[in-house]
């Protein structure tokens, strides 16, 4: 069953075309990731699904979540979904339990049901010890987990997360990934945005790579890697001047990609890259397996984390 269906959706802010003719579908019980640099239109696309942003009217564009059009039935969609927005927006003055109790009212949960549910969620996100702490006293990672707990109050069938782990330390990030995997295995559908390639790789069944409001690639992350990029990368920083490599005479099966500050050589066999290394004249280099970031670089012709 399709939980989300987006067809040929456009969004314009004045002259800026934030989302351009985007289409995708999210199957029940899967995790779908919108991946791309800041300004790619990920958040805008996500907000259109739960009615926080309206799609620009066009001929045949359509959005459905649980079969509902967010322009008409935002309440039904939001009742079935939990949303974790980019910023934490907790009530600083209140403690952890009070923050959650306030939100239980929005779902019409009776107080006794809410209290029980909150206990389970705090346990699930390892916040039980902080139940009485004021939210302003929580670390960034705890605040993030509390926002996720809040989104789970009504047992959502769909969990929407906007950059769930941006700015968090590795431990918290892995904890959140683990919990998201658990939720998915219990049947929760997950839609998330991220600009971390590793996050998409770790938890998404499908990633849609976006750039400038358009779809660049969409597939299972492992398949994306296998089919779209060579297995290994040799990186040579060029900050201290260009290495004296004759680019026209690279070994066969080696592809060169230049971006500001780095030469990247790609090849299926690591030996080919070692051949290139031998031709270097003492420059620093680094050989690694390729990642989704390299896929992105190849597909869009520009580096992800520079200039955004």
């Amino acid at each position: 069953m399709k939980i989300i269906s987006v067809q040929n959706v456009n969004k314009r802010f004045g002259k800026v075309h934030a989302v351009c003719g985007l289409s995708f579908e999210v199957e029940e019980g899967t995790c779908f990731g919108l991946l791309g640099p800041n300004g790619a239109g990920k958040t805008t696309m996500m907000k259109m699904i739960y009615g926080r942003s309206s799609r620009t009217a066009g001929d045949d564009g359509a959005i459905r979540a649980f079969g509902y059009d967010p322009a008409r039935d935002e309440l039904a969609i939001k009742y079935l979904s939990g949303v974790v927005s980019q910023e934490n927006n907790l009530d600083d003055e209140l403690n952890v339990i009070q923050n959650l109790m306030i939100y239980s009212k929005f779902y019409g949960l009776p107080a006794s049901v809410a209290r029980e549910r909150i206990g389970v969620l705090l346990e699930f996100l390892e916040l039980s010890e902080k139940a009485q702490a004021r939210t302003r006293e929580l670390s960034g990672g705890m605040q993030r987990r509390l926002v996720i707990a809040r989104a789970l109050l009504n047992n959502p069938k769909l969990l929407i997360l906007d950059e769930p782990t941006t700015g968090l330390d590795p431990q918290v990030r892995h904890l959140i990934w683990d919990r998201l995997r658990q939720l998915r295995s219990q049947g929760t559908t997950i839609l998330l945005t991220t600009h971390y390639m590793e996050e998409a790789f770790q938890i998404c069944d499908t990633v849609l790579i976006m750039d400038k409001g358009r779809r660049v690639l969409e597939d299972n992350p492992r398949r994306l890697l296998r089919e779209n990029i060579e297995a290994y990368v040799l990186e040579v920083p060029t900050a201290n001047g260009m290495p004296a490599i004759d680019e026209t005479r690279l070994p066969t099966g080696v592809r060169l990609d230049r971006t500001d500050g780095t030469l990247r050589f790609y090849a299926e066999q690591i030996e080919r890259l070692k051949d290139v290394v031998e031709r270097l004249s003492g420059e620093q280099y680094y050989i690694r397996q390729s990642t989704l970031e390299d896929v992105f670089l190849k597909a869009t012709g520009r580096a992800l984390n520079e200039r955004q």
Binding site: L75, A76, K78, L94, F106
Partner: protein, 263 residues
């Protein structure tokens, strides 16, 4: 919304209540610092101006000793000020700084529910602030009982009326400093020229019509009428004014804030 929708999301009353409940819980969290000033302010004002300055004012105003005249006006100005601050600085901070609305609008409520909830909450604060002034007036023995016990209801209406105006103003504001124009340029002058500190009939005839146009004048009339149980047919005009003003500015505020909240 379609009535045929099979999803049992909470009814309108529950949605409005949950917005109100959120604000109530956050406000009452600091009960002492939030709850004491509404009692202290009118106390200081009545001591300083009403008793201190009032001693030199021997004339009655609209048939009332000066301190009674002033006190019955303060009942609703308290509601005006709290609603104006709540729906300018308070709303703007929730909107732009704390991003509270981002969280609330992810829950099953609409923008309309959110704004109407804000207005009802501001009305509730108006009710509480008027009640606080009423307690002070009762301590001074300058309000008729039990008639005066109805004034918090006037405070509720006053709070809602100024909430709609303030929310409408907020919908235009891009930086928080701009509220000074509204609060110093519109709200404060209203305090002085709407029949609170001296009767409107004493204003020069050329500018008297201004007092008739602004909302506080009508709230003050309702408050004095309730305090003295002196109801005249002319009061219906003030009742109608408050209702029409609230509905029109409420609708305009919702329409404009919707554009800001749903991009």
């Amino acid at each position: 919304m379609r009535d045929s929708s099979p999803i049992a999301y909470p009814a309108l009353s529950q949605r409005l209540f949950s917005v109100w409940y959120r604000h109530m819980r956050v406000y009452t969290k600091n009960l002492l610092s939030n709850g004491l000033p509404p009692f202290l302010e009118p106390l200081l004002f009545l001591l300083g101006v009403g008793l201190g300055l009032g001693k030199y004012i021997t004339e009655t105003m609209d048939g009332l000793p000066y301190i009674n005249f002033l006190g019955t006006g303060l009942l609703v100005t308290a509601a005006m000020f709290t609603a104006a601050y709540e729906c300018t600085f308070g709303t703007f901070i929730r909107l732009e700084f704390e991003k509270v609305y981002d969280g609330m609008l992810a829950a099953p409520i609409t923008v309309n529910n959110l704004i109407v909830g804000e207005i009802i909450w501001a009305g509730t604060k108006g009710l509480f602030f008027t009640f606080a002034v009423l307690c002070v007036l009762m301590a001074f023995g300058i309000v008729e009982l039990p008639a005066g016990l109805l004034t918090p209801l006037v405070g509720f209406l006053t709070g809602m009326m100024f909430a709609t105006l303030s929310l409408w103003v907020t919908s235009f504001v891009k930086t928080i400093n701009h509220f000074n124009f509204y609060l110093t340029g519109i709200i404060s002058p209203m305090f002085f020229f709407s029949g609170v500190v001296f009767p409107v009939s004493n204003l020069p005839s050329k500018i008297r019509f201004v007092a008739e146009i602004v909302p506080l004048t009508h709230a003050v009339r309702l408050s004095r009428a309730v305090c003295s149980s002196h109801y005249t047919p002319a009061l219906l005009a003030s009742v109608a004014y408050v209702i029409v003003f609230t509905v029109i500015f409420g609708a305009m505020a919702i329409q404009r804030l919707r554009r800001r909240l749903v991009t």
